[in-house]
Structures are given as C-alpha cells and as structure tokens.
Amino acid sequence: MNMYDSIQAIVDDANEKNKPISELIIEQECQLSGADRETVWNKMAKNLEIMRAAVKRGQEGNGVYSATGLTGGEAVKIKKYREKHQTLSGDTMMSAVQNAVATNEVNAAMGVVCATPTAGSSGTLPGVLFMLEKRLNLKEEQMIRFLFTAGGLGMVIANHSGIAGATGGCQAEVGSAAAMGAAAAVEIAGGTPEQSSQALAMAISNLLGLVCDPIAGLVEIPCVKRNAIGAGNALIAADMALAGCISKIPADECISAMNKVGRGLPASLRETGIGGLAGTPTGQAIRARIFGNNV
C-alpha cells in the first residue's frame, strides 16, 4: 500500500473512481493501519467530539483565560458583539472567527484540544467546521468526512513541506490548517475534488510567508488571533474555488513553494520568540515581565 504522494494524485484518483476525497482517505487509513473502517471512523468521531468541547468551553460564561493572562475572554467578546451588532464581515464569518478564537484560548489555557494539524493552529479547522455545521445543517457524518478530507490533504502538505512553526513559520501551521479547511469545506459544500485542490492552492498562496513570532515563546500572541485569519482565509478560498476561480499555480507547487519559503526564513522568525511581534519593545517587555530579564 502506498500513500498518496501529491494533491494531484488524490484528485486524479477521486475522479477516476468517482469517489469523494474523504472516502479515499478513509480507505487509505484502513489499509495503512490495518484497522477496520469502524475503528478508523470512530477515532475521527472522537476527535470531532474533543473539538466541539473546546469550542463550547471557550465561549461559555466569561470564557477561558491563560495562566499568564495574555489571552482569553475574546471569543466571548465576539459572541456578545454578534448578538448586539450587525457585523461588518457578516455573521457567519464572525461565528467562524469566534469558534477559532475559542479553541485557541482553550489551548493557551492548557486545556484539551485536538491538534489540527498543530495545537497552535488548532482553532482554524473548528472555526470553519462548526460554523458550517449551522450554515449548511451538517450531520455528524458529514463533519467527520470533513476531517478525513482535511487530514488526508494535510498529510501531503506535512510530508512535502512541514507543519512546524520552528521549521516553516506560521504559514506551515495556520497556513496549512487554512488550506486543509478550505479544501474540506469545498467537498462538504458539494464542490468537485479539483475545486478542493484549487481552494487548497489559494489558501496556501494567501498566507505564504507568514512568520512564527510568539511573544515570550508562548502560544498566545499572536497565535490565537492568527487562527481567526486562518478560518477566514479558508472560507474565502473555498468560496472562490466554488465560484470557479483558478489558482494559476497548481496546489502541489504551492506546497513546494511554502517549503522553500520556510527554509528561507531566518531562525528569529521560526518559533524562537526573537523576531517579529516578539521582538517589539512591548513584546520584549511582556517577556521580561513573565520570565524575568535573564532569558
């Protein structure tokens, strides 16, 4: 059994077999792991349950706050704002942002999350998915399929580029998550495998070059809010692909470009807490306040 080694191979196989990408990924997982379909399915259902719990926890009551106090409570702020105002970018968009921020606030507070593909980018996919649940009236089965599609395409990204901020910057984390979410959103909305691939390509292109610059090395600022743009970017790319927009650069070449851009980033912008926002006077002051000056 060989794993899919490119986005194009997945699209071709889906077209040839007339199956959705999610189905191909479920079959691949059964073959690779030797586990039966039910086991594989239930494992993904469990991941979905954890994601749902984190989204819920982050927006209940006054919200959750990290131990440092740097992040927290903003998912609730967005929720209240949505209740009382007509939002500028539309209520569905802001509900995706709310879900994304809620998840990452739980993560920053050392709560339980499902890494998708990483913990720092764990808000992006749920941001998209739980908004779509309401908007498209999704059943649990469709939501689980969303995760298989996202994960299967994410494997290609991870193997050909990487998903660690320390090696590829935030583009590899939130960028990858947005690309996975965009492609999965297309499938769930009834788009073609080719359109999923287009959405993935556009989502990666839109966040290419994004640096990983956590203040004090904490997965808080700017990570929590970066997931808001991850979710928004996923939805925009998915809508554009469904509209028939085409990325002139194929998905696999976008992935390869992301890899090269990541390798070209200096260490200060790859999860060292040195450059970018971490290097600003305020970023340095926060670091000194939390850890003292001897770092």
Binding site: M1, G34, A115, A150, M155, A158, T167, G168, V219
Partner: protein, 220 residues
C-alpha cells in the same frame, strides 16, 4: 525512505493538553520513547534543549511535557502540567539545560535526554517535527551509538552475549509482521544491537507479539 507522516491521525490529532503540539505533545512523545527504552525506575534525568526548544521551552510547557513522557503519561493526561513535581516526588533528579550550540541532530526542536540509575545509562536524542510527530535520530544504549532513520516506529533488539549472529530469525519475523525499509547492526563490547526502521505504524497486536517472541526487543 518512509514518509514522516503516515496516518491521517498525525494531522487530525493528537488529542492533547495545550499549548503546543511540537513543544508539548511532541515533547511528551520523546519522553515516552525514553521511558519505554529505559524500562525501569530512573534516578537521574538531564534534558538538553537546542535551538527553538532552548528558546521557548518555558513558554511552551516543554519541561512538564518531557517529564510527563518519562513517567509514561499520554499527551492528554490531565496530570501532564504537574509532571515535574510528580517526577521529583518519585525521587528523580530532573534537570533542564539550555544549550547554545546548534542541534547535534540538525533540527530546531531538539531535546537530548540522558537517563540513568545505579546500573544503567541511556541517551535519547529526539526532535519534534510538528503536529506532535517526532523523530528519534540518535540513541546510546549499553554504550553503543545508534543512528535510526528518525521516524517511528523503530524496532530495537539488544542481543546480550551475542548469541544470535545477525539476528536472522528476528529479521525474518520483523519483515513478515512489520516490513522495514532499513536495518542496521551495531557491535558493542558485550552485546550486538539491531535496529529496524519500520515502514508503517504498528498495531498493538504486532508490537505485543514481537516483544513476547524476543527478549530485549523494544518497539518504539
């Protein structure tokens, strides 16, 4: 070569305690490899951090994650944040060192664990490659240096007294149960060590069978 990520659950998952999949969940995984490889109570653990791990381990909870791993906890165990205190309460002399030089195994998220008790000493050099996945790029067991390809699973067999030249039987069984893409043999003074880099993830049944059939065999 095996791909680094071989399951959809490497990407959607793991379920974990925040905040970082590479610096927390991955660090737990590196600790768990050391826990399994050592296989008995330890009295001293020194963790050497390099590059991104050295710069951000405090912010990312890497210290408690590694400690949780060496105690054998899972990444979603609620006790993960208290692990260093639990380790010290269990009599483990636990230390963390921030190294200035580049990673000896060429990855920004590197932790090198030196673990010992009165009569045993090992070294585990692991890196966290993202999303909770790890590679083990160097091991020292019984004074013998081993350089696996990196991605798990890794099967390790220590032949004390060199009683099984070339581990012919074992190699055949590994090939049958868990195909590998590379095999290495290392000659120590008192033992031979065989290391297999396995193509796909192994299920529990396969691991149990291999570990039951061969003494001193460990599936990492």
């Amino acid at each position: 070569m095996g791909a680094k990520y071989r399951s959809v659950f490497d990407i959607i998952g793991p379920i974990m305690i925040g905040p970082s999949s590479s610096h927390t969940a991955g660090a737990v995984a590196i600790g768990r490899v050391a826990h399994k490889l050592f296989g008995e109570p330890m009295t001293k653990v020194t963790v050497h951090y390099y590059e991104s791990f050295a710069k951000t381990h405090r912010g990312h909870g890497t210290d408690y994650a590694i400690a949780a791993g060496i105690l054998g906890m899972a990444p979603d165990d609620q006790r993960v944040p208290q692990a260093p205190q639990i380790a010290r309460r269990n009599g483990i002399d636990l230390r963390y060192v921030e190294e200035e030089e580049p990673s000896p195994i060429h990855h920004p998220n590197t932790a090198v664990l030196c673990i010992s008790n009165k009569h045993k000493k090992i070294l585990v050099a692991g890196c966290s490659i993202g999303g909770g996945a790890i590679e083990i790029r160097k091991l020292v067991v019984e004074g013998v240096k081993i350089f696996p390809a990196g991605p798990l699973p890794i099967v390790l067999y220590v032949d004390h007294g060199k009683k099984h030249p070339n581990a012919v039987e074992l190699t055949a069984e590994v090939e049958k149960l868990a195909p590998f893409y590379r095999k290495q043999s290392m000659r120590g003074e008192e033992c031979d060590i065989y290391e297999y880099d396995i193509k796909h993830y192994m299920n529990k049944k396969t691991i149990d069978k291999l570990e039951a059939d061969f003494d001193n065999l460990i599936c990492l």
